[in-house]
């Protein structure tokens, strides 16, 4: 699967799709797991005071983290961010997180917006650069997904 049309120069990794979709945005690797409920406000800003990326915006970013953490209300917060257009462009996770997958599934059912969620390995996560534009293309769940990070 290509990264949506035009050839992009950069490093490509292949992960496992948890939810289909395609998205492009600036990469935002998180230094710790993030709970969307209690951790991200309705504008898409990280408001968890304990979190290293406190104050950053997730909107339109390709958010990479080890896992979703904490509250099971994160599904509703994520679905609402997708509905309001303030969601990440894509999520990259090491641990398949059913709560975040459900948020993406419901938003796709209700609003027709399919935000990709991709499982990556711990090595792939730690090997990501600190920023740069990332293109994510994920097929049906359990199938392959590609993440291409452009060279600056």
């Amino acid at each position: 699967m290509g990264a949506s049309g035009a050839e992009v120069r950069g490093r490509t990794l292949t992960g496992r799709s948890l939810h289909p979709g395609s998205g492009t945005g600036a990469l935002l690797p998180l230094g710790a797991a993030l709970s969307f409920w209690g951790g991200v406000d309705q504008e898409g800003t990280v408001v968890d005071h304990h979190h290293p990326q406190h104050g950053s915006s997730v909107t339109g970013r390709v958010v990479a983290m080890r896992s979703g953490r904490g509250s099971s209300s994160s599904a509703a917060v994520l679905a609402e961010l997708i509905r309001s257009g303030r969601a990440p462009a894509a999520l990259l996770l090491v641990e398949p997180d059913s709560i975040l997958v459900v948020g993406a599934l419901v938003a796709a059912e209700m609003y027709g917006t399919s935000m990709p969620v991709v499982e990556v390995t711990p090595d792939q996560l730690s090997g990501l650069p600190g920023g740069g534009l990332a293109h994510v293309a994920a097929g049906e769940a359990a199938g392959p997904a590609t993440v291409t990070v452009e060279e600056p």
């Binding site: 509703a76 609402e80 599934l105």
Partner: protein, 427 residues
Amino acid sequence: MAPALPLLTAEEQGMLAGDAGPATALGMRLVVGVARATGAERLVEVASAHGDGCLYHGAAGLEFTERLVEFGGRVRVRTTLNVGSLDLLHPGTVRADAALDTNARRLMDAHVALGCEPTWSCAPYQAGHRPSIGSHVAWAESNAIAFVNSVLGARTDRYGDFLDLAAAITGRVPFAGLHQDEGRRAELVLDLSGVPGELLDHDAAWPAVGALLGDLAGTRVAALVGLPGDLTDGGTTEDRLKALGATAASTGGVALFHVIGVTPEASTLGAVARSGAPVIPVTAADLRAARDRLSTVTEGRLDAVSLGTPHFSVAEFAALASALAGGPAFARSLTVYVSTSRAVLEQARALGYADTVEGAGARIVTDTCTYVTPVLDPGVRTVMTNSGKWAWYAPANLGIDTVLGSLPECVASARAGEVVRDGRLWG
């Protein structure tokens, strides 16, 4: 080519195809979507559900729930409900604007229309919903998940908004994660035998243990050894495990912990721990550091005290009423809130505890909680709580400072109008 997973029974295929109506089909698409993502090979039937989608987070949750109602959806299994955004028994407690008031009520009504029980509590396990050991259930709300898995020994994975209702309507969840024996094994062991007994007899030690557990375990299953007594002798009580689990689910993503010799699956360490699981010794200093991370201030004037997160139990009401009996009322410069379920409040009223607590000046909040919806006065800046979960989330949710203390410390502080804590036990 291998068949696509999960493998569905004929009945489940029918549900997906719409034979049981469009609400069941929508629910099944979500359950199957998650099963694919998590790699589950099949689904499993559940005996009950606890839903937490009744707290208003925005239009998406309301529109989803009302769509299920429009589709004629009905839960197939007993389904209790978590807190909503309103206190329906005490109008005026929540300072909701007109939009929140309308939307929050619509969301709660839509859940009841699906056949869910209006329990409105994050501690359904202390309000009459106690699944049997080994039964498969679909519970949402991180503290309730930790409690039902750990303390009751029923089996749920981490469910949240949407999937809770999908499971309740289809009666199915993916057979994965904590539903399977393999997923319930402890990957690490916390040894608390080096912590002085006097400290573990201090209520505030338990959210501190939870905070440390969350830090060390993350989302992994852990076992704890060296905690005192058992569930019936006043040592490792249900309320202490409730506080521990709620905090561990907040600071980490803990959904199951085993207390060796106490919780139902954990007769011995060998019965629950993976061989070679690392053993981490815990000291009083570790617990002090964990406690300190649950406070943004340590002293000074208080504007409020918040108790009952997760919802206060009858036993906690008894302890609070006992601490208040014959003593002075709370300082008039602050407000004391006690959050509980309507089921527990009914018992606390019958037993006289609620009158004692209100007589001292406390406000009892039901159906919701003081950190998820506007309850505290706008001028509140500093709040003491006995809850590690409240202390963890309130600074971000409410923009306030918090300080953690035991129930007796909260009572002493509420009387003094400022923080009163006994630091001697913490080493």
